[in-house]
Symmetry: C2
Subunit: 263 residues, 2 copies
Amino acid sequence: MTNDPDLATLKSRSGQWQVVEREISRAITSGSLAPGNKLPTETELMDRFNVGRHSVRRAISELAAAGKIRVEQGRGTFVEEHSVITYNIARRTRFRKNLLEQGRTPSGQPISEAEIVAPPTVAAALKLEAGAKVYMIARRSFADDVPISLSHSYHPAERFPNMHLRRRAGESVTVIYAAFGIPDYLRQSTTILTRRPIGDEAQLLAQSPHQPVLVVQKTDVDMEGRPIAYSETVWAGERIQFTIENELAEPPPASPVKGQNNE
Amino acid sequence: MTNDPDLATLKSRSGQWQVVEREISRAITSGSLAPGNKLPTETELMDRFNVGRHSVRRAISELAAAGKIRVEQGRGTFVEEHSVITYNIARRTRFRKNLLEQGRTPSGQPISEAEIVAPPTVAAALKLEAGAKVYMIARRSFADDVPISLSHSYHPAERFPNMHLRRRAGESVTVIYAAFGIPDYLRQSTTILTRRPIGDEAQLLAQSPHQPVLVVQKTDVDMEGRPIAYSETVWAGERIQFTIENELAEPPPASPVKGQNNE
DNA sequence: CCGCATTTGTTCGTATGTATT
DNA sequence: TAATACATACGAACAAATGCG
């Protein structure tokens, strides 16, 4: 762990598992192990490199953590294959349009909806008192049927009474906003951070638990500046990157970002 | 790996190292193991949990990968301590001002400067032909003497001839811009992504190689839209988060910007 | 400065459990 | 059901880093 990176010379010193790791890694980048290919079994690698199983497994576990290979119990070990989606954050960001422009097919899947007591962070973002209730919507989004994000949105139950009834009737969030006299709203703040996935996030995003996720937290407010929604979206770090393009020609006026993203 | 998260009941099944991990983790969050504290030695943990060294080490390695503890050979294992810096991205983002507003002390350290052949990604961003030369500036930045970012900036050598002489004379980038008739410039595009650290990044950022980094790539253009600089900054993922605040409908107070500082 | 005790790092051998085919 | 392949676990030994006398 507290080791030097890789220098060319110190092969024999400091771990045979690193030799195994480097050789496999090299085989992958050189193309002799193509994405999707199955690696030799652990026993085969033991023989080939003349090391014990521990060393082989250590090498494999490092490569899996780095996202280069994927291990499946009972089946084998395979070279991982990725492709990165560029998600453009503009003034009017739409999930669907964004992906379509890149030739991807967007889709979504509801996970759960419920009225719950606001967790502390949510209560703080929405400026609610501790113990206040919020309506939570959890969704999973896909690009070409590959999961890319998990989102949780929270709306104050007091501001949107009987939201669950309206949702069950199939009303979209925008429609519900309109019904409560909110024709438009603004993105107040956005926070971007990274961390390792927790709980079942890695599983739901179909990515290695060792690969990081990007977390985007945002708060939307109505035209009077009152918070109406807080959401946190967890993106598969190995499959997404965000871009912000600035229009050059005219000096950009202080136009706030009108945000909206889901579905 | 492909397991349910943690349910209360299935303790005995599916790994004793997980029991050890959970217990230590609990001890940390409950406070009985405070940040900075030294954990019991591996042998002590073996006795305490009645498991072999492998199980103890597996638990420890998972916790270390999660950033909860830090292992030092020959010394021991310690509870990690973090604090997150919120880096505000506004219209005029300044490293120094940003940190000062949070009560942090910013500082920087030059790593290297050189005229090199532009790497492919850099050439593409700056719209240079393959083989064109660029002037590279590598720096490391700190907050309260804790490293938080590594940056590489690239300027076209053709556009800024003899940049190394000017730099050696101590001229700042802004001054050099002015000398070449660039009074102002714009941020054209920004890309944000996450990945695991590579090479010596983890070491330079003093963070675990298992903790992710945030990568911010940006291209600056002059007022005619010609690219003049491309830079890539790698941020310590466990110590930074970005926020974007949008001014709302009414500008509430007058802008409290008094003294300003460039870096 | 040297040597020793402590503590983590690497490696081997071996056995058994669990998932997949 | 059986064979294959990865997962977990025990024991043992030696290497490497650290700190102390």
